[in-house]
Symmetry: C2
Subunit: 396 residues, 2 copies
């Protein structure tokens, strides 16, 4: 059977990484590979009452089709309680609900990219975004990072060099995936200014912004956006419940309209029931209080992981010190290949994500990503110890 | 602000029809324009217990990320209880869960269409599919229909004429949207044979198959598929609850794999909670019994609508007599424009969907679609009466 797929689909394969990660699901393995929120922190008891109430009080409406833009009370909550603290003063009309921020990422590619167009992104960047973009067959220009995220001078150089072939800038300013790095406020401001200057949309992907362990939430890039070039993607996956698949896009009118029309064609709308349940939860409970609880636990886990890495990793192994979010990023000696080392790690019953695929143009095999959000204290220490043993062999 | 959208997005606009339909939401209007299931038939009481039980018994898992393919027990139920009655013997491994069948439609375009490729479809066809396909900028070849759906000789002629520029055949064999027409079994068999002969995938979109009011469910086109060229799209939107956004794709391994990889990039997965709730409902209750209840009501409404049309429409107005599904399709005299007539209809506080946009290549303005599933008996009679009054003016 010779099936003729579209050119874009020919290149789409279940990623090698994904196959590798399947191995990490065996119970004896301590896996730092995923990026799952800790399920023990989900507000299950509260949600039991919520889902029952939604079905009892709004059952027929909750099971029926509803608008593509999303449930209005939920959009109002997003505008008031999620966008305002990120420094963005908008109303529900500036917000549309998406299936997690992943859908917002994919729509961005659909809306802005012709084949061969340039996406500018951090080097490295979020694997799920790279893969979503790749279906539209763009070119990637990777902007080098320092400890404070994308280096602005390098961004400016790239925009100058590639001119109007650049169709969007994709960035995760807060506790970036995979590096855990955070962009300071002056850089955020500059990104917004450069977007306006070069007339290029910025996709600000911000799934982790709420989960800050040192200091206050940073103002979003969008908070510095005067003309409407910044498109903010948010999600309830990391601060509430990923299983409900609820995120949002906040953008200026002419841009948001495209996201809504695309959503209409793609899947009509998000789950009516889940939107109503999420909205009712946030009407009855304070999501920010819930987030405070998450932060206490994740901060402790982060500390434990970084302390254990300092203790058990051989000298010469570098890693980031994230002030929020879920990940730390490990840099090995240049001659080492984290994908190769994964075999030794699995033999020791510990796993991570090799860093190569986070670089859209390849190379950089001497990195890996560690997640600390969904693991017990004991497992964090024991897992890092095992990893240290694997690394020791190569750092004698 | 001069935003440079992708070529595909430039053409995407909120459809004229959609704007028109907003007018039909005023309470004084009797609208036959939508395609909503009747909310009074949703199993709200049962679902109240179900959602509570899911949260109580499986809360942490139900709120967490889960697999892209979908919740395995739900896929097992789909294989056993939905695909088998359509004549397709498969296991859960042949099924992936999608956000309604709309997502399966959109993925099909993404997977099979390069710009300029040909989609073969019924003339007219489902508006939501046409719009989803258009984002991939294909050409459409419309196959004329008779009372029994797509005319097979015309299909064969088109396949011969356009050769391997044809990349997929899109068809709704059961109570087609918008015409309500049904393809007899011999035609289904021929479509499957032609797909294999010409090596062209068939997208069999089957949202209404369960809702048959005369006789037994028809075997699906996929039931005649020997080599794996037929991709079956199913949904729980019309036989259960649209608000949960749950559908599925059933296809051969090498094709299904593409749908799963695409879904991974697009939105990771469907709502874990909704999938578990739907599965538990179907474990505890018999969905087919529920469907029997729906059929009794919809059949009565169909009869009432057709009888009223016979009674109140002027002679010369033709309409289809669907044996299932939600719609009947009205043909006016060729010089009449249903979109123009809509103004008169709205003045009489009654609405329909003008038929033009259901023809991807334009033309055919003398048609409109009527829905009878979500309306009280009184409103059906009164609405058809008002429509008759509007039509009478043009049929003196």
């Amino acid at each position: 059977m010779n099936v003729r797929f579209s050119e874009r689909a020919q290149g789409l394969k279940a990623s090698e990484i994904r196959e590798l990660l399947k191995l990490t699901e065996m119970p004896e393995i301590i896996s730092f590979a995923g990026g799952l929120p800790a399920p023990e922190l989900f507000p299950v008891e509260e949600m039991e009452g919520i889902v029952q109430e939604v079905m009892r009080e709004q059952g027929r409406a909750a099971l029926q089709y509803s608008s593509t833009e999303g449930f209005k009370p939920l959009r109002e909550i997003i505008a008031k309680e999620r966008m305002a603290p990120a420094g963005v003063n908008v109303t529900c009309d500036d917000v549309a609900v998406t299936s997690g921020s992943q859908q917002g990422i994919e729509f961005s590619a659909k809306i802005f990219l012709n084949e061969g167009d340039i996406v500018v992104c951090e080097s490295p960047s979020y694997l799920g975004a790279i893969n979503a973009f790749k279906a539209y067959r763009p070119q990637f220009v990777e902007i080098p990072m320092d400890d404070h995220g994308m280096i602005i001078e390098e961004l400016e150089k790239a925009l100058k060099e590639h001119g109007n072939k650049v169709k969007m800038i994709y960035t995760i300013p807060d506790f970036q995936n995979p590096t855990g790095r955070t962009m300071p406020d002056d850089r955020r401001k500059r990104v917004a200014e450069l977007a306006a200057e070069y007339e290029i949309p910025v996709i600000e992907d911000n799934p982790y912004g709420d989960l800050i362990y040192e200091g206050e939430r940073h103002p979003s890039i969008k908070s510095f956006d005067k003309e409407g070039w910044v498109i903010y993607l948010g999600t309830f996956s990391k601060n509430f419940c990923p299983g409900l698949r609820l995120g949002w896009v906040c953008a200026s009118e002419q841009i948001l309209e495209k996201y809504v029309v695309v959503k209409q064609g793609v899947d009509l709308q998000c789950s009516t029931f889940d939107q109503r349940a999420a909205a009712l939860f946030m009407q009855k409970y304070d999501l920010n209080k819930h987030i405070e609880k998450i932060k206490v636990v994740y901060k402790k886990r982060r500390n434990l992981m970084l302390d254990s890495m300092t203790k058990y990793f051989p000298e010469g192994v570098k890693f980031t010190h994230p002030i929020g979010g879920l990940f730390t990023w490990v840099e090995l000696r240049e001659d080492l290949d984290a994908k190769e080392l994964m075999k030794d790690a699995l033999a020791e019953n510990v796993a991570y994500v090799p860093g190569g695929p986070f670089f859209p143009n390849g190379g950089h095999h001497n990195y890996f990503r560690l997640n600390y959000s969904c693991m017990s204290d004991e497992k964090i220490v024991e897992g890092v110890k095992r990893l240290g043993k694997v690394l020791d062999k190569h750092y004698k």
